[in-house]
Symmetry: C2
Subunit: 504 residues, 2 copies
């Protein structure tokens, strides 16, 4: 079987990349402070070896043999798809000069450190040259990968294949006025009482988080949860998928919804078809990530589905409220309705990661236009703070008092991620589309949810989304699952129903 | 500088091997049970890549260039030594057929699982075929590496270069009668009262362990301590050196002395010359380990020095006893003398890892003769249980009631380690030789120890042992540090003084 040599190589690359994930997980949860420099070298070496294995002459021979093998009649489509995906990624890699890869990797470390310092001191000027260099290299990457309408298109394709700046602008053109309408309505509601503040010891928050993750089906035999500074989900194959969370000792919502969010990511990874382990369908060979989801947006759709559609629903809390009361008895005297009102409070703010469901996408839209302008040269790095202020004023109606709460708030650009912000909004839209279709497909799903049981919903998601891993393009996956490529209407219906319907 | 390409390659190999260490650490402390199969593949892939990088044509070119470079006059001896060490390891690797490496790696996984099952069921017969195969492959490895007097010599050279079966038999011939004499004297002492049993919650034991590790200088900015089943020390470069411990909830000694033991290993790793990071002096290129110590025995000497010479001394506990009392107030009513008598109790037993200082080496001598006989074919695997019983009777005067407490007690053979047991005794002997020399070299060392301060001792060890990493052969290191290669007398003086001197 002449596919074997290619599969074996992909397996080795996957082993390297899942090991990089362990290096990253450890550095963010366990590593003593003194280990950072050595850790950076380990990640760099393994990533470089993975790229070498993906691009060397031996790989090209294996790929050519595999392509001959799948060209004959009778070969299963899944094997053809695998070889096509490898070819696409390898060709793209070979268009990127090794020197650019090295420069990007080196810059990422110094830019991240500079960003941390700049944010702490609210000193954009010190970060500006590194941001400028980041944009130069991102543009070089886009040029190497190739684009026709806008350099942004080449980069967004790394995270959300199929989207372009034009497609996103069309989507945002529809979304923005609707969101403004829903926001206005939501703000007209009586303000929710602040019942989420109090005294919540981290140990109890962690225990509650674990309980809620298990309640939505996250499997602790193949996972674990730990505290960290910036929560994330990460997998070392589908058999070991870890999540992290963080706590505000004086506010209970962050760990609850952060955990449901990361556990949603985790469900996707834990439920990829076992036969895809170490295959191209569990390896983002182009991005050099080991990951089970087909796009950043698809991944985000699962985290947002469990965080928002399940996790902020009355049905979920009718069943889970006793867990909360057990962990924090103060809630015994808080009516469920007051809690539900508090977790669906809408209020425009400056910080993306603190944003509610209705205002979140404005933060994304601000960033996408800025990324496009930085990439095409119509915006210089030094002018970023001013443009940020203008955009936030236009989108959220807020004044930005400093850059720490403005253009220095996110880690993405310093980490070299330019073109990925849009995937948060794609995730929001896709979550609603999948959730609506799932609920419509079988009354049992909604009935079970009303009883606090996510089982039937999870079965539908496993069958329609999770098991496929990276096998299908996001739009093909959506079309198979919902009968349509990405569409906005279910998301708007969801937001309108939750935030405008006076009955709730 | 034409040494650079070689150094760069050794650095990459070191990055891979330190990452393997993280994979191992995580699997034994953090990994969810479901992650085991994937973890085995990751370790296998990284180890194979490290071996490829150590042996491929590109490496041979880099090595040849380096050899030419260091052959000219004026090159520092340290660079010549580095290149010689690489050459020795690479030549040895290239003598080992890749197929043998693969077979040993595959067998190790199945033999370990078989051993775990066999030990649990006390069923040697089920493990016997895998042991027999392990010995066949160990012998094949010895033959590939080359030997003249006994195949054991080729294998012991992997762990303790310079020792042979003949040198060990000469050493043991001196050691055995002396140990028997000391054992008889120790057993004639009044029996110690059992003051170490009680109720000791693991969380408090862990806190005490961390405190004791810090007391002997283990640096938590570059390390951490976690619970595990079988304690170990492991390093991901000198900047991140982790230790583990375990607890008997009803006995306090295991975590205390286990921790001091592993922290002793950790001190060696944490104090290797910073310039050796990622170099051949921090990489066992032949064994494919990332490790700072020059031999298994040298490493064990540091763990035993802190466990026994420091950790079981009256001086140490005169200062640290309040820590113990704080952790476990029950010791407030236990006189220090009773505690000291209990931690130096001597009693022959069946289990090596539970053995006291005086009887430990008998366990080693049993195993070395058995390993030699298995390797040269004079003992068949099926006859092991019977010969084990005879050897334990002859060495320890005990009857072995079952194989679980007999020939199935150790993980080493199942893990493919044949020829390493002797390094425990080498470590015991070397610890005494170094400790005696250190104390004789400066009265300040002993004075400080009497005040509970290990600082001056550590300074001497850092200067004489730790900082050199793997730069010097064990016997050269010993000769520089103590004026003599390995010698037995200090060890016998130490044991006689502690266990025969009636004053104590």
């Amino acid at each position: 079987m002449s596919l074997e040599p290619l599969k074996e190589r992909i397996g080795a690359i996957n082993d390297l990349l899942t090991t990089v994930n362990l290096l990253v997980w450890d550095s963010r949860t366990m590593m003593p402070a003194g280990g950072a420099a050595a850790r950076g070298r380990q990640v760099a070496t393994l990533t470089r070896l993975a790229r070498d294995l993906a691009c060397d002459d031996d790989m090209m021979r294996r790929l050519e043999v595999a392509e001959r093998d799948v060209a004959v009649a009778g070969v299963p489509e899944i094997d053809r798809a695998a070889v096509r995906q490898v070819r696409g990624a390898v060709d793209a890699h070979r268009r990127i000069p090794a020197e650019l890869v090295e420069r990007r990797a080196r810059l990422q470390a110094s830019a991240t450190q500079s960003w941390i310092d700049a944010r702490a001191r609210d000193d954009f000027a010190s970060f500006e040259p590194l941001l400028a260099e980041t944009i130069v290299l991102a543009r070089a990457l886009a040029d190497a990968l190739g684009w026709s309408e806008h350099p942004y298109d080449a980069l967004v394709n790394l995270y959300e294949p199929g989207e372009t700046l034009a497609s996103l602008r069309a989507l945002f053109g529809e979304l923005r006025p609707e969101l403004k309408r829903i926001l206005a309505g939501a703000q007209a509601r009586p303000p929710a009482r602040d019942v989420l503040s109090g005294d919540f010891p981290p140990a109890e928050q962690l225990a509650l988080s674990a309980r809620l993750a298990a309640a939505i089906g996250y499997d602790f035999k193949h996972g674990r949860i730990d505290p960290t500074v910036h929560p994330f989900e990460i997998s070392f194959t589908r058999d070991d998928v870890r999540i992290t969370t963080r706590f505000k000792p004086n506010h209970v919502a962050q760990s609850i919804f952060g955990t449901l969010h990361e556990a949603g990511h985790g469900l996707y990874e834990q439920n990829v078809d076992p036969s895809f382990t170490r295959s191209i369908f569990a390896t983002d060979l182009l991005g050099l990530y080991a990951v089970g989801g087909t796009s950043y947006g698809a991944h985000e759709s699962q985290s947002r589905l469990f965080e928002n559609h399940v996790g902020r629903s009355a049905a979920f809390w009718r069943r889970r409220y006793p867990d909360l009361v057990t962990a924090f008895p103060v809630f015994a005297s808080v009516p469920l309705e007051a809690f539900l009102a508090a977790i669906t409070r809408v209020s425009p703010g400056l910080i993306r990661t603190d944003a509610d469901e209705v205002t979140y996408d404005f933060h994304v839209m601000v960033r996408v236009e800025i990324e496009a302008a930085l990439l095409d040269g119509s915006l210089a790095a030094r002018d970023l703070p001013e443009v940020w202020r203008e955009q936030v004023r236009a989108n959220l109606g807020l004044e930005v008092p400093n850059d720490r709460e403005g253009c220095l708030q996110d880690a993405h650009w310093a980490a070299g991620l330019v073109g990925s912000f849009c995937t948060y909004t794609i995730g929001n839209i896709m979550a609603a589309q999948l959730f609506e279709t799932a609920c419509a497909s079988s009354p049992q799903i909604r009935t079970a949810l009303e009883e606090g049981d996510v089982g039937p919903l999870s079965s539908w998601l496993r069958e329609s989304v999770w098991r496929h891993g990276r096998r299908f393009h996001r739009n093909d996956l959506l079309a198979q699952a919902t009968g349509s490529t990405l569409k906005l209407a279910p998301y708007l219906r969801h937001l309108s129903q939750r935030y405008l319907d006076p009955a709730r």
